[in-house]
Point group: C2
Chain length 323, copies 2
């Protein structure tokens, strides 16, 4: 068994080589570019961790892990075009550095390359693995569309359950599937796969709530982002949606006025409303609720608890950061 850090090194050692041919350069350079500007590689390492929860690392786990990381980067390239995002990981996005056409096509060939890795898997589990991968891939697309749909709605038109579902699809199912793919390769039973999947999904949602919380209430120096960045752009976050549900009509009117007029003291004023209607407390409890569900699923996996340590450590690291 290995720690997250050790698995990350193992993953990078084989993934860090150039993934694409040299030519046509205008097709493959943009694809290689995004792989070269970093990323924490959480998803592929989750796949390796999922394998090691049940058995020794199998070479096929790297094929699955590579497919997952390529898929994740494919979604980033295409999402950035859709969202017209200029920066990714502090660097120009693919469509900004190259152009939209190159970015669309680089994403496409990256998605095809995922399936090249998956098809290298020789074990009998390949069909099952591809099914799990395809389901997650399709759900990530649905999540991105739902995100764009919700973007068009007024905050109070957004149903909280729909919002959680969108977050789960857009960000959590790939984390969950990464673990499950590893579990399948490691020989985990269907029941254990299910619990591991749910562990990943709940950690993902809890992490997103924490991310929204820290954007508003975190220490900006530690968090590394401008405090209230989400508030400034009226982003629909867990906090805003719940605040509109919890607050009084007067507070609601005040929030709307702040969102419509963007005054200089907008962040401080919105935070005051969040505080007054106790959405900060609610967020901590909500994060706790999803964390709790995650740990219960982890506990329910029928392997020696010592094997779960790396996953417990990772969840603890992800869900207790103050910045």
């Amino acid at each position: 068994m290995h720690s997250f850090k050790e698995l990350l090194e193992k993953f990078e050692q084989q993934f860090g080589k150039r993934q694409f041919p040299e030519k046509p350069a205008n097709l493959y350079d943009p694809a290689q570019y995004i792989l070269g500007i970093g990323g924490k590689r959480v998803r592929p390492v989750l796949c390796l961790l999922g394998n090691e929860l049940f058995d020794e690392l199998h070479p096929d786990a790297y094929n699955a892990a590579n497919a997952i990381e390529l898929f994740h980067n494919f979604t980033l390239i295409h999402d950035d075009i859709m969202d017209k995002a200029p920066l990714r990981r502090g660097m120009p996005t693919v469509h900004t550095k190259y152009n939209d056409a190159a970015a669309i096509l680089a994403g496409d060939v990256m998605l095809i390359h995922c399936y090249e890795y998956l098809n290298k898997i020789n074990s009998k589990t390949r069909q099952k693995l591809v099914n799990v991968f395809n389901k997650a891939a399709r759900e990530v697309c649905e999540g991105q569309q739902l995100d764009m749909d919700l973007e068009q709605m007024l905050p109070e038109q957004v149903n909280y359950a729909d919002y959680v579902n969108m977050i789960a699809l857009k960000t959590s199912v790939l984390l969950a599937a990464s673990l499950q793919l590893g579990a399948i390769i490691g020989g985990g039973s269907e029941g254990n796969q299910h619990h591991l999947y749910e562990f990943g999904k709940n950690v993902g949602i809890a992490f997103q709530i924490q991310d929204d919380y820290l954007d508003a209430f975190g220490d900006p120096e530690k968090f590394g982002k401008q405090q209230g960045g989400d508030i400034l752009i009226n982003k629909k976050t867990f906090l805003l949606l719940k605040a509109l549900e919890l607050c009084s009509p007067a507070q609601k009117a005040h929030l709307h006025q702040l969102m419509d007029t963007n005054p200089d003291n907008k962040v401080a004023e919105v935070l005051q409303v969040f505080h007054d209607c106790r959405v900060d407390e609610w967020a901590e409890k909500e994060k706790e609720r999803f964390s709790q569900a995650a740990y219960e699923h982890l506990d329910a996996i029928a392997v020696l608890s010592a094997r779960k340590e790396p996953l417990k450590d990772l969840a603890g690291f992800l869900l207790t950061r103050q910045h």
Copy 2:
């Protein structure tokens, strides 16, 4: 064994049902839309024909055929965004009817759906089938990029061999792979698969040369398009590239002047140069060369010649049309 028309009906019967869930509608409606605006379904029927060249139709052939048709439509959606094309099959393109973001995502989910069909294939040939599919898919992306690269170059900078390679990748390899996928499902040997693939590839190139020829010299009433449509937009075609190679310096200067100034009589003048430097004769010979190669590969396939009739009929139909 069945004719092209019979297989087309069989294909449509199962493919014509809605391919995608109802929701999220903004994701799946654009994907369903392009499938509903027609298309000749040549590629999936080639797959069925490839199967029947060797054996009775196998249910897996429909899974492969569906994947191929979805892949083809995925490329159309994304290519139309890249090319900023307003119309497809006489109807608004997906990004025109919806928007770029919806079109990108609809294409993505359509590509994932291809792999859902491929993964339904239960036979032992699935890994080989996916390899053939992936290779063609990647080459189509390379072809699209090379096309965009050539678009940026002056016509005389374009090497003829590079142009043929681009056309082969962009349009012919998917036809060829469709046949090969069918052959694999039908149990054709590696050698027979190779000949069938090369048959499809060469038919594809010959068809493109004919298409370029008819755009210039065809009867516009029969062809159904404006005569010289390619000439009007200075499109790099087989004819233009070869004309620039064959013609005298004076003719070349004249062609350039016509392309730069777009006079009213541009089409007639360009056609005169084409005629003077005999590029029309060359095109007929060049088409014949690729057709010949196609038929030689078809002849080399080791099955009873009666089984080849539907393919011979199809090639004959595709390559002798005068409009």
